[in-house]
């Protein structure tokens, strides 16, 4: 079955910091969503990422590898976390994405993985 990445993106335009209650609610909702995903057999992998200030970029395309502090590109949007799911088709992926978006209170991008 095809695999999809459901990614959650943060934006510089997002509303300011969440309150502790909002954060707690989102955690609980995502936990419940993850449990449903595992139960359905569609779960492959998922994770939330540390803030982008923790990112390091490695470039080994030249003669000597170059290690730089910071993300690949300074942009107004960045990846916050993702799910990898295994489902029959895009309709199924979109249904999970709808639930996931509501659970984490963020927009979710759905992209298929290349076939093996």
């Amino acid at each position: 079955m095809p695999e999809y990445m459901l990614s959650v993106h943060h934006s510089a335009d997002d509303p300011e910091e969440w309150t502790a209650e909002e954060m707690q609610l989102a955690f609980e909702q995502v936990d419940a969503f993850n449990a449903r995903l595992k139960e359905s057999g569609s779960w492959v992998f998922a994770g939330g990422l540390m803030p982008r200030e923790t990112a390091t970029t490695v470039d080994a395309t030249g003669e000597a590898p170059v290690v730089t502090d910071g993300p690949f590109a300074e942009s107004k949007e960045w990846l916050g976390g993702f799910w990898v799911i295994d489902v029959p088709d895009l309709d199924a992926a979109l249904r999970w994405a709808t639930e996931g978006s509501a659970a984490c209170a963020g927009k979710v991008e759905v992209r298929p993985f290349q076939a093996e």
Binding site: P2, L90, L94, P112
Partner: protein
């Protein structure tokens, strides 16, 4: 030569009728839209040769659709055999055995129904949905679709190619959506057909004020959909709406200039389309009454058009009925466009001042570039004798009217105003 031309025209007509069915059946069987489309096109080439009248050929077969499907299927197998020598083997295995019956087992099993839901999938860009539907179900060539939407053929070809690549790459399924998703997804299909019709009925750019090939195709596809989903009231509603609108086509332009509904020569309306549209509206009303399900937007719009086409003279129009239907429509869809149309009915019922107040309440970014909002305001201001403001509103309407027939009408209205003041 004329005999030959008429033969080719007949084959083309058969092909247009059968194309969607052939492509849809092959798409289900081979799981690949490119294979399906190319094989259908190859089958046409064979048909143009084989179907020639004897002694040159064998004549048009008694079941041309079945013939085309079989021929196209054989072509597709040839192609996949060639490709699968270097490709995966499982596809070959899948395509040799056609395990699903050719005959539809019920309306929801029809291959064309699956295909239309694939073509109108919400994960595709709206303009791609329209193009794919016209190409794969309508059988229009890429060049024809490009001409109808006034974009270069290469642009349209890229749009269709990109959409097909997304369908394959993102695994957009080839099936009728699940019951829970059906209302929303059916809404998407109806919106595509309505858009195709409107682009034909109100060409937004170009020289011709209307493009018949698009209105006809939208009606044809709406009929197909109605045949496939006979119990969906909104499908009946959309078909009725298209018929009752299309029925007025001959009377709506004179010398390239728009003739508004109230001034049209009603003898020029198409009685057959009106009768069929009225029958459908009555059917929708009866069903809504027996099921208790409130009619949706297409049924309500069809009912509005049934009221208009019911009046032998514009003065006989039952405006109270029109306004009541728009009240229901506002409850379903409170968009400014719907409220603007409701205001037009209010003008006839309660006078232009009441209507103008409602129209002005709609002012905002959504209406600022909308020709119909300015044109409606202009007409109301004219009727209220506020000539200078009316002139400014006509200017604004002319500035954003894309349809040449409408622009000509607005220009004359404005100039009449200048002379009269």
């Amino acid at each position: 030569m004329s005999v030959r031309d008429s033969f080719e025209e007949r084959v083309e007509a058969v092909f247009r009728d059968e194309f969607g069915r052939v492509v849809a059946s092959l798409a289900r069987r081979f799981g690949d839209l490119d294979v399906a489309e190319d094989a259908a096109a190859e089958a046409l080439v064979v048909a143009l040769e084989k179907w020639r009248p004897p002694p040159e050929g064998e004549g048009i077969p008694p079941n041309p659709g079945g013939w085309l499907t079989t021929t196209a299927g054989n072509r597709a197998i040839d192609r996949i055999r060639r490709e699968s020598r270097r490709d995966d083997k499982h596809r070959e295995a899948a395509m040799i055995v056609d395990d699903e019956p050719h005959e539809p087992t019920g309306p929801v099993e029809d291959d064309r129904l699956r295909l239309i839901f694939t073509c109108c999938h919400p994960a595709l860009a709206p303009e791609a949905r329209v193009a794919l539907t016209l190409r794969l179900l309508g059988g229009l060539t890429v060049a024809e679709i490009a001409t109808a939407f006034l974009v270069p053929e290469t642009t349209m070809a890229q749009r269709i190619t990109r959409a097909k690549r997304k369908i394959a790459g993102a695994h957009i399924p080839y099936r009728v959506p699940e019951v829970a998703d059906l209302p929303a997804r059916l809404g998407g299909v109806l919106a595509v057909l309505f858009l195709v019709f409107n682009e034909g009925y109100w060409a937004t750019s170009g020289e011709a004020p209307a493009r018949r090939e698009l209105t006809l195709e939208a009606i044809r596809l709406a009929r197909v959909l109605r045949g496939l989903l006979p119990d969906e009231p909104e499908v009946a509603g959309l078909l009725a709406l298209l018929l009752l609108t299309d029925a007025r086509r001959a009377a709506r332009f004179a010398g390239g200039e728009l003739v508004p509904l109230g001034e049209q020569d009603r003898a020029g309306w198409d009685r057959d389309e009106i009768d069929e549209g009225h029958r459908l509206v009555r059917e929708c009303l009866a069903r809504a009454r027996s099921t208790g399900v409130a009619p949706g937007r297409y049924q309500l719009l069809a009912a509005v058009n049934a009221v208009h086409t019911d009046a032998a003279d514009a003065r006989d129009t039952d405006w109270a009925q029109v306004a009541a239907l728009y009240d229901q429509l506002v409850a379903v869809d409170p968009s400014p466009v719907v409220r603007l149309n409701r205001a037009v009915a209010l003008a006839e019922l309660d006078g232009p001042a009441v209507a103008l107040a409602e129209v002005d309440r709609l002012a905002g970014p959504a209406m600022a570039g909308y020709h119909a909002w300015h044109a409606t305001r202009a007409d109301l201001l004219r009727r209220l004798g506020r000539t200078e403001q009316a002139r400014a509103a006509y200017d604004a309407a002319i500035g954003c009217a894309g349809n040449p027939g409408e622009r000509a009408w607005l220009l004359r209205r404005r100039d009449t105003l200048v002379k009269g003041s």
